[in-house]
Amino acid sequence: MNHIPEVIRTIPLDYYLYFSVALFVIGVIGVLTRRNAIVIFMCVELMLNAVNVLLTALSAYRADANGQVFVFFIMAVAAAEVCVGLAIIVMTYRNIRSTDVQILNYLKW
C-alpha cells in the first residue's frame, strides 16, 4: 500500500483549495440562511471540516506533519463542542418546543 501523503499528492493542490473553499462557503451560507439550530450546527461542522481538508492537503504537500496533528486537535475540540451544543439545543427545545433561532432573541438591550 502506498504512503498516505503520496496518495494525497496524486490530486493537485488547487483542487483541494477549491473544494475546501466551496465547502466552507456552503457552511457560511448555511449558517446565515437557515433558522433551525441543528442545521446551523451541521453547517458549522462543515466549515470545520473544510479547514481540516485544507490542513491535511497542505500538510501532505509540504511534508510537514504538524498540519495533521492540528487536525486531530480540531476534531477533538469539535467533538466536545458538539456535546455542549447539542445539550443546549435539547434544553432549548424542552423550554420553547422549537429549535428556531429567530425566536431566541431575548438577550438584547
Binding site: 446565515l32 433558522r35 433561532v101 431566541l104 438577550l107 438584547k108 438591550w109
Partner: protein, 653 residues
C-alpha cells in the same frame, strides 16, 4: 596649608564617628515605635542616654583630635550617589568646626533632654516628643558632620522637618499647626535658595565635597567679587536667612514658640537656627571671595538685630520676648560674619547657646510653675517662689545684656570690636541694639520676678519650684554662661584667644585668597578699653532705666484693650510685618489658587476627564440598539467584517 585628607583612619575611629549621629537615630526609632507602650522612665532613659553617649563620644573625638596635632580627616563610609562626574560619599569631615558644633549640639542637647524629662512628664505623648527631639539631634549632627554640601542639605531638611513636627507637637490646636506650617513654608523658601546654591557650586567647581570645592575655589580664575561667587554665596545666604530667621524671612521664629519650651530652647535658640552661621563659616573661602555678599550679610544682620530688638521692647509674652531676642542675637552673628569675624561669630553662637538655652529653660520653669500662663502682665514677684529659676535667669539676663564677666560680654564685645574696625555706623546700630537688648531683657526679668504677684489666686497657690531634672540643667547652663566667656578673652587681658587659636586653621584657604581679610584686630588697647566701657555703660544704663520704670515706678504693660501711642502700637504689632506679608503674598496667592481651582481645575481638567466619561456613556446609549438579540444578524455582521478584513489585508495592506 592644612592636610585635608588623612587616609589612614582606623576602624574604631570610623565607628565612633558614625555612632555619634546613629545613637540618637536609634533613640528615635525605639521611642517612636514604643510611643505609648514604653514606660516614661524608660523613654527618658533612652532619649537622654543616647544623646549623653553621643556627647561623651564627641568629647573623646575632640581630645583625640587635639592629641593628633589637630589634623582634620574625612571618614568615608560608602559612595552614596554616583552619577556621571558627580560623586557624593556618605562621609563625615572631622575638623575644628565640626567638633565645635558637635560638642555644642550634643552637650546642650543633653541638658535640654534632661530638662524635657521633667518638663514634659505630664504629656501623654511623652514618647513621641523624645522620638522627635532625638530625630532632631540626628539631623543636626548629620548637618554639621557631613563632608559635602549634599549631606549638609540632608541634615538641613531634617532639622526643618523636626522643627515643623515639634512646633506643631500639640497638634490639636489649630494655631499651633498654622505656626508649624508657617515655619515649614518659610524655611522652604530659604531651602530653594540653598539648593540652587549647591547646584551652582557643582556647576562651577565640579564637586560638592568641601575640600575639593575649597581647593577649586582658591584656584578659581574669576578673582574676588566675580559674578558666580556672588551668586553662589547669595543663594547660600538665602538658605541661611530662612533657617536662621533673618530679614525678610524671620517671622516664623516668633510663631515657632508654639512648640514646647524645651524645643524653643534647643531648636529655635541654641542649635538649629545657628545652622546658617555654621554654613557661612564652613564656606568661608567662598564668602571671603565675595566681599559684596559679605557687605549684604552685614547689612541684613544689623537690620535684623535692630528691628527684632525694637519689637522685643513691647512684647508681653515671655517666650515671644526671648524669640525676638534670639532673632536679634542671630542678627549680631550675621553682622560678625559680614565683617569676616568668623571666629567671633562662632564664639557668640556658643555663648548665645548657653545663655539663650538657659533663658528659655528658665522661662519654661516659670511657665510650668504658672500653669501654662505666658503673659508677663500676670506674673511678678516670682523670685520668692522660684529661687533657683530666678538666680539662673538673672545670670542668663546679665549674660545676654553683656555685663562682665558673664559669657555674653566677651563674645558681644569681641564681635562689636570687629564691627567697629569695619564700619563705625554699623557699630553704632549694633550698640543701639545692645542697649535695647539689655532693656527688654531686664524689663522681662523685673516684670516676672520682682514686684507683687498679678495672677489669679489659683495660680498663686500652685506656684512651686521645678523638680531637680529641670533645675540641674538650669544650674549647669548658668555656670557655663558665667565662665564660658573665658575661652575667648579679649586681647587686652590675655595674649591667647583659646577659641580663636583653635579655630584659626579653618581659614587657611581663605587666607590664600584674601590674605588681608582675616587679620586679627588692629585696635590699640585704649580703643579696646573704650569700646568695652561704652558697651558696658550702655547695658548698665538700660538696666537702670528698666529698674526705674518697672521696679521703682511699678509700671505694668497696658492690657490688650487699652489704646497705645502710634509708635508703641506699631512696635507692639511687630511693624505689621505679618499683616504685610499676608496682604502682598499670602492673599494674592490664595486668590490665584482659588482662581486656578475654579477655572483651570474645575473647568479644564475636570471638564476633559468628565467629558470623556460622558462621551462614552452617550455613545454606549445609542450603540446598544445594535445588540438586537437576533443571532443571524450577529453572524452576518461577523462574516462581512471578516471578509472586509481579509479584503483589506490582501488587496490593500
Amino acid at each position: 596649608m592644612r592636610e585635608i585628607v588623612m587616609p589612614v583612619i582606623d576602624q574604631e575611629m570610623a565607628l565612633l564617628c558614625l555612632l555619634v549621629p546613629i545613637l540618637p537615630l536609634l533613640g528615635f526609632i525605639l521611642n517612636g515605635l514604643g510611643n505609648r507602650k514604653l514606660a516614661k522612665g524608660l523613654v527618658s532613659f533612652i532619649g537622654c542616654g543616647t544623646v549623653l553617649a553621643s556627647f561623651l563620644i564627641s568629647i573623646y573625638l575632640f581630645f583625640d583630635f587635639l592629641t593628633n596635632d589637630s589634623r582634620s580627616y574625612i571618614v568615608n563610609y560608602y559612595d552614596w550617589i554616583s552619577v556621571g562626574t558627580l560623586r557624593i560619599g556618605f562621609s563625615f569631615l572631622i575638623d575644628q568646626l565640626t567638633l565645635f558644633m558637635m560638642l555644642m549640639v550634643t552637650g546642650i542637647g543633653f541638658f535640654i533632654h534632661l530638662y524635657s524629662a521633667g518638663y514634659m512628664s505630664h504629656d501623654e505623648n511623652f514618647g513621641k516628643f523624645f522620638a522627635f527631639i532625638n530625630l532632631f539631634m540626628f539631623s543636626m549632627l548629620v548637618l554639621v558632620m557631613g563632608s559635602n554640601y549634599v549631606m549638609m542639605f540632608v541634615g538641613w531638611e531634617g532639622v526643618g522637618l523636626c522643627s515643623y513636627l515639634l512646633i506643631g507637637f500639640w497638634n490639636k490646636n489649630t494655631n499651633y499647626n498654622n505656626a508649624a506650617k508657617k515655619a515649614f513654608v518659610m524655611n522652604r523658601i530659604g531651602d530653594l535658595g540653598f539648593l540652587l546654591g549647591i547646584f551652582l557650586i557643582f556647576m562651577t567647581f565640579g564637586s560638592v565635597s568641601y575640600p575639593q570645592v575649597f581647593a577649586e575655589a582658591v584656584r578659581y580664575a574669576g578673582g574676588l567679587d566675580s559674578g558666580v561667587m556672588i551668586a553662589i554665596t547669595l543663594l547660600l545666604f538665602v538658605g541661611a536667612m530662612g533657617k536662621s530667621a533673618q530679614l525678610p524671612l524671620f517671622t516664623w521664629l516668633p510663631d515657632a514658640m508654639a512648640g514646647p519650651t524645651p524645643v524653643s530652647a534647643l531648636i529655635h535658640a541654641a542649635t538649629m537656627v545657628t545652622a546658617g552661621i555654621y554654613m557661612v563659616v564652613r564656606s568661608n573661602v567662598l564668602y571671603v571671595m565675595a566681599p559684596t555678599t559679605l557687605e549684604i550679610i552685614a547689612i541684613v544682620g544689623v537690620a535684623t538685630a535692630l528691628l527684632a530688638a525694637t519689637i522685643g521692647l513691647a512684647q508681653n509674652d515671655i517666650k515671644k520676648v526671648l524669640a525676638y531676642s534670639t532673632v536679634s542675637q542671630l542678627g549680631y552673628m550675621f553682622l560678625a560674619l559680614g565683617v569676616m569675624a568668623f571666629s567671633s561669630s562662632l564664639f557668640h553662637v556658643l555663648m548665645h547657646a548657653f545663655f539663650k538655652a538657659l533663658l528659655f529653660l528658665g522661662a519654661g520653669s516659670v511657665i510650668h510653675a504658672m500653669s501654662n500662663e505666658q503673659d508677663i502682665r500676670y506674673m511678678g514677684g516670682l523670685r520668692k517662689y522660684l529661687p533657683i529659676t530666678f538666680v539662673t535667669f538673672l545670670i542668663g539676663t546679665l549674660a545676654i545684656a553683656g555685663i562682665p564677666p558673664f559669657a555674653g560680654f566677651f563674645s558681644k564685645d569681641e564681635l562689636l570690636a570687629h564691627v567697629y574696625e569695619h564700619n563705625k555706623v554699623m557699630w553704632a546700630f549694633g550698640l543701639l541694639a545692645a542697649f535695647m537688648t539689655s532693656f527688654y531683657m531686664f524689663r522681662l526679668l523685673f516684670l516676672t520676678f520682682f514686684g507683687t504677684f498679678r495672677g489669679t489666686v489659683d495660680q498663686k497657690n500652685h506656684l512651686h519650684e521645678s523638680p531637680a531634672s529641670m533645675t540641674i540643667p538650669l544650674i549647669v547652663l548658668a555656670a557655663l554662661s558665667t565662665v564660658g566667656g573665658f575661652i575667648g578673652l579679649p586681647a587686652v587681658f590675655s595674649s591667647e584667644h583659646v577659641l580663636g587659636d583653635y579655630l584659626a586653621p579653618l581659614y587657611d584657604y581663605a587666607r590664600l585668597v584674601n590674605a588681608g581679610a582675616l587679620e586679627p584686630l588692629h585696635l590699640d588697647h585704649a580703643t579696646e578699653y573704650m569700646l568695652m566701657a561704652v558697651s558696658v555703660g550702655v547695658a548698665v544704663l538700660a538696666i537702670i532705666i528698666a529698674y526705674v520704670m518697672y521696679v521703682s515706678k511699678k509700671v505694668v504693660p497696658a492690657p490688650e484693650e487699652e489704646r497705645l501711642s502710634p509708635i508703641h502700637n506699631l512696635i507692639y504689632h511687630k511693624y505689621y510685618i505679618d499683616e504685610l506679608y499676608n496682604t502682598i503674598i499670602v492673599r494674592p496667592l490664595m486668590w490665584f489658587s482659588s482662581a486656578f481651582h475654579r477655572f483651570v481645575d474645575v473647568l479644564v481638567v475636570d471638564g476633559i476627564v468628565n467629558g470623556f466619561g460622558k462621551l462614552v456613556m452617550q455613545s454606549g446609549r445609542s450603540l446598544r440598539y445594535a445588540q438586537s438579540g437576533a443571532i443571524g444578524f450577529y453572524v452576518l455582521v461577523m462574516v462581512f467584517s471578516i471578509v472586509l478584513i481579509l479584503f483589506l489585508n490582501f488587496f490593500i495592506g
